[in-house]
């Protein structure tokens, strides 16, 4: 793996919602997918994923059912609920605003002040 960035607080939830929104996943799948779509640029301790998943499920943003994994084992699959989809939209929008603002702030040159 290449250079790794620390996760900003709150971004793990966003990443999970995004990942699950693509298609229902079990916990390990979510982990792999995050690694895949971020190109392994983010480091999280694997176990930390689970309290986050349970919290989102508790809040009604994720639904879950038991299914069978690729190698025929029982696994808990998470999917996005309607409330989760709405939240994802809001979070993405908020994130984009933040990024835009940060980028603008960091581009500022002395003569512009």
């Amino acid at each position: 793996m290449g250079k790794q960035a620390e996760l900003l607080p709150g971004t793990l939830d966003l990443l999970i919602l995004k990942t699950v929104s693509l298609n229902p996943q079990h916990g390990y799948g979510v982990l792999l997918r995050i690694g895949q779509i971020t190109g392994g640029a983010l480091s999280i301790e694997q176990g930390a994923l689970y309290p986050a998943l349970h919290r989102l499920e508790h809040q009604g943003l994720l639904g879950c059912e038991w299914g069978t994994s690729e190698n025929n084992r029982r696994a808990k699959y998470y999917r996005l609920t309607a409330a989760g989809r709405k939240r994802l939209g809001e979070e993405v929008e908020g994130w984009n605003r933040l990024v835009a603002a940060m980028r603008a702030a960091l581009k500022t040159r002395p003569e512009e002040v």
């Binding site: 079990h26 916990g27 390990y28 982990l31 301790e45 694997q46 176990g47 930390a48 689970y50 309290p51 986050a52 998943l53 349970h54 919290r55 499920e57 508790h58 809040q59 009604g60 038991w66 994994s69 190698n71 084992r73 029982r74 696994a75 808990k76 409330a83």
Partner: protein, 885 residues
Amino acid sequence: MLSRLRSLGRMIFRRSLWEQETSEELQFHLDQRAEDLARSGVPRGEALRRARLEFGAVESYREGCREARGARWIDELSRNLVYALRSMRKSPGFAGVAVLSLALGIGANIAVFSLLHRLILTTLPVREPERLYQVVLISSSGSHHRMPYPKFELLRDNFKVFDPLFGWGGFRDFELTVEDRKQPAHVAFVSGNYFDALGLRPAPGRLLTAQDERATEIAVISYGLWQTVFAGDAAVVGRSFSLKQRALREATFQVVGVAPPGFFGTEPGDSTDVYLPVHAIKRYDPQGLQHRGVMWFHIMARLRQNVPLPTAQAMLREHWPKLDEPERIQRGDQGRPHFMVLEEGGHGYSPVRVEFSGALLVLMGLVAAVFLIACANLATLLFVRGAGRAREMSIRLALGASRAQLLRQWMTECLLLSLLGGVTGLLAARWITDLLLYFLTERDRPWLRFHPNPEVLVLGIALTLAAGFLFGLLPAIRASHVNPEAMLRAPSGSETGRRGWTAQAVLAGQLAASLVLVAGAALFARTLWNLNTTSGGFDRKTTVYGIPNFLAGQFPQDRIPGAMKEVLDRLSRSPNVIRASMGDPPILWSGSQWRWVTVPGYVPEPGEDNVVFGTMTAPGYFQTLGIPMIAGRDFEDRDRTPRPGVAIINEKLARHYFQDNNPVGRRILYGPKMPLEIVGVVKDTKDASLREPPRAVVYLPLPADRWSAVVARPKVGVAPSVCEAEIRSAFAAAAKNVPVQVERLEEALQRGLGRDRLVAQLSAAFGLLGIVLASVGLYGALSHAVSSRTRELGIRIAVGASAWDVIRLVLKQCLSVTGLGILLGLPTAIAGGRLIGSLLFEVSPTDPLTLAISAAVLAAAGLLAGWWPARRAARLDPSRTLRCE
């Protein structure tokens, strides 16, 4: 929100399944990771180790999952609950006192509130009750909700602001017969538009309409009557029944329909059974609708669309006196004109409400005070327990529990207690209501029974939670703020005598509230005593009266005067009777015999009413009742002419119209056309009620051919019951088979004191309860103070303190709290006394003697509660207390 609740519910009820599934989920992750690593070439054993390493601390993440679902909260709660149950089982006495006193406090509040709710807050189950108004007649003798029927027609024909105007007159003295079933019935004679105006729909059949107003043979029955007497008969329409009034006239009616369920008439608290068109009253009294002096008809109205209330009031105020004037002049009424006003009517007319809402409000105050006392009492006991458990708290703090955790655990215990108390109270409320109703009314009133409704339930829940926090929070905060280091280092039994000021303040507050209750009880007890001992100006204790019912005995009308004369003769010959006579006894007069009096030479002030009350008496009436003559003579047989020419007046009338001149021999005009010569003056008597001051009264001689109630007084030393028997036997001899109602005058007066007796009894009961609770609290606090000071007391005794010194030491502490309670309670009692002033009689709410006695009672209770702990302290054996370390 919902999903959170569902998820919480799952954590509470399907916890083990969740645990198992989560383990499986985490295990799946580890296995998958290990497999992936193995596939990328890591050796099998190493792969598992690496997977675990990358995952991190499994147990801590599992805990994280639990926390994410609020499970920690659930776990702590269930731990606290188990702990609370265990500590309740360990001290069942405390738990019992707590639950019982809370149940009593909460139950009594709910019961009284549900009665108040029914009587004062519930509106009639009709269309738009908030737009209903009662029409009230204001005359010189007060405000009347009932009036003569002609006034209704006058209003209906002359005022266009009402749409509609309707009314009814209710009678309770009917007996209903259906086939062979008989039962008493409350009958309402209603205007034709009554049901339309209220917006009601029939159950089966039809209701009365405006076209039925003049009908005399049809009836609507109540839903309750349909279900009971007619057994819910589907073919009830067309069936007939008969109604008999006071065993006099009887008439049959045909049912045309049934009123809707839930509608009990427009007199809440007194369900109407039968509704008849108003003209049906002619079958009982042909002149029924023409009487101008009989007050029986209630009038209600809605206002025409777009007519605001003030406009309607103004029109009534301006036009009614003019409309009424011709009749007033005809009656010889020279007083102030009468007015009609509109009052809110959505709650219906309820004599029960008029009579008891004052008493119920007082009762609400009393039970609220009892509730607060119960809470304060528990707080005191909890302070004591908290101090007793300080060691346990210290150990738990020292072992790493947080203060917030200790606080939560305490509050769990308190709320569990209050919950048990609240549930018990809610269950007990039904019986408490029944008990109150048993005292309140002679008749069964199903309408007032306890009906759980949302408002009552909300009150119950609010009181339960309030109780838990009220009694729990202060002691909990105190108990969780122990200093473990100091506490664990000190030997037991050596705490200083000082306890926190909060505990003392709560105890003092409780004593203060008890003082208020005791003072209230004392005031009501003195009121009842005063009402029982006030003479009223006549001999109320021994006088006996009898009212014959000649009609029921089918006694010929023309023989009545002779029979009455014989009864009186027999009575005056009896060796047991001082004197017997005829005339309505005071207080039992009907108030309708008032007239206007004109006194030549007396110029009335503008607006003065000159109303006097008249009653007819036979010779000897004043001597029989023990009313002293001040001047002139009593009536004699020759005065008993068909048209009275002479009169006796009371002192009040004499002083008002003749000042200091002798009125005997002067003439007055009574009503429009009855000139009377005054032959005597008697002392004043109370006549309306024992509470009201005497009014101006004219006594007229009873004409020889008329009769009235028989009054008789036994000789000194002869029991009134002997006199009662004499009256009965005199009637038995003179008028066989005529039923006579005989009783002591005192019995009739006592019936009128029902409300005062109720208030006095209940306030005494609550006062006693308050004192007992306060004593329990004080006893608990002092016992604990003594046991925590055993070491100090032991040393004092060892170095020579006498038993009395020790007792004095403990009692001083007890008296200082009681003194503080009295100091706080007296101003509160005085303030509360002002609120109940209208219910008192001849005792001031700030009566110093009453307050002093109440304070003394409280102090005595305090001393009594402190005496046992003090005795125990004095009997401590120093050698043992000092050795027990």
